[in-house]
């Protein structure tokens, strides 16, 4: 038997894993039938396209595209069978499915753009990192929405998580200080470490989270000061106003988050979960 090249095999496995995931909790006969049918379909597609001389990358792309385009239908199919079987979809499944759908649709944009223009070039690694970042951010937002006992706490978490997402995305894309790849941008890892360390130390309690967000804002401001003092902020790559403006935006977001956490700490919870 010819060994399957890694790309198409990985993509086919990903599809099967997804099918097993969204058929979880359904009656065995329905779930097994769906899994077997998709496995046969994948096998047939791979065999057919190989026979037609399609490249491995193209086959993997085709399988991945069929997976992504069918996500909404998969979710609808599951909802219908869950309703028919009288079972309840678990909150965790709903959260993961919702976040996966949103992340997949966002990633579809560069994927489609790559098919129509040469101006957008994303490697597989780019998709992987962006997917992990989107999934991580989405799951953190879901967690905050579920566990927060106070509206202000929820809003504070959304602002902080959103700011962290933007900070990471910007740094991965072009960097905030200097040319892309400028080592000074590594200082932002320290900003994230301050925020994460503060949140863990505070055990995510509102007053502690307010202090952690404030410390993160200070760390962010400190990075800007270091960049300015060491002459890293130079036009036209990243001017003083760009460095001050971008870092100022993140400082403001973390201060807003701190204020909201502080508000949550000073009031009794609106409801308990």
């Amino acid at each position: 038997m010819t060994p399957e090249p890694a790309a198409r095999l990985r993509t086919a496995r990903l599809v099967v894993r997804w099918v097993r995931f969204y058929t979880r909790g359904l009656p065995a006969a329905i779930a097994d039938r769906r899994v077997e049918e998709i496995e046969a379909d994948l096998q047939d597609q791979i065999a057919d396209e190989r026979a037609n001389g399609t490249s491995d990358a193209r086959i993997a792309l085709g399988i991945g595209s069929r997976l992504v385009r069918g996500l909404a239908a998969d979710a609808a199919w599951r909802r219908r069978h869950i309703a028919a079987s009288g079972r309840m979809s678990t909150p965790v499944f709903r959260s993961v499915a919702r976040v996966s759908l949103v992340a997949a649709f966002i990633l579809l944009l560069p994927f489609v753009a790559m098919q129509v223009t040469d101006q957008v070039v994303w490697s597989r690694f780019d998709f992987l990192v962006a997917g992990a970042l989107l999934l991580g951010t989405g799951l953190l937002l879901e967690l905050a929405a579920r566990k927060a006992r106070h509206h202000s706490y929820r809003a504070a978490a959304v602002v902080a998580i959103g700011a962290v997402f933007l900070l990471v995305w910007l740094n991965l894309a072009v960097g905030i200080i200097g040319e892309p790849g400028e080592p000074a941008n590594a200082l932002y890892v320290g900003v994230l470490a301050v925020g994460l360390g503060g949140a863990v130390t505070a055990r995510f309690r509102p007053a502690g989270m307010a202090r952690a967000a404030l410390a993160t804002a200070l760390a962010q401001a400190l990075v800007a000061v270091v960049a300015l003092l060491t002459g890293k902020a130079q036009a036209p790559v990243s001017s003083v106003s760009e460095v001050v403006g971008l870092n100022g935006l993140f400082v403001a977001l973390f201060i807003v988050s701190a204020a909201l956490f502080w508000h949550a700490a000073s009031r009794p919870p609106a409801r308990a979960r």
């Binding site: 046969a40 379909d41 069918g70």
Partner: protein, 117 residues
């Protein structure tokens, strides 16, 4: 997205019935998921195959409506690969497919059942 009216078929479901009827008329009584997706792609002159979720959700609904019937293929025919689910048009499905083809002259949503009162 607007909800479909009870007893109506969406364009993909109609297309599946029409392809199934055309296969039946050419002597192919049964078909499987990938074969169907491949035939529909060729008929449309498209580059991509219908998505897994969309295709199998439509097949599942057509079966529930009694327009298609399905069974697993014989173990003897499998030859080491995953067994296929084979679909075939029912008599009611064939009538719906003929109706859908005729309706393409005067387009409207094909009805396969009366709306509940």
């Amino acid at each position: 997205m607007p909800r479909r009216k009870p007893g109506t078929l969406v364009p993909l479901e109609t297309e599946i019935l029409e392809v199934a009827l055309s296969l039946l008329r050419s002597g192919v009584a049964t078909f499987h998921g990938f074969g169907l997706a491949s035939t529909m792609r060729d008929r449309r002159g498209a580059r991509s195959l219908t998505a897994h979720g969309t295709l199998y959700k439509a097949l599942s609904r057509l079966e529930e409506l009694g327009l298609l019937a399905s069974r697993w293929e014989d173990a003897a025919a499998v030859d080491g690969r995953p067994r296929r689910r084979l679909y075939e048009l029912t008599a009611q499905g064939a009538r719906a497919a003929e109706q859908a083809t005729a309706d393409r002259v005067v387009p409207r949503s094909p009805r396969i059942a009366a709306e509940p009162a």
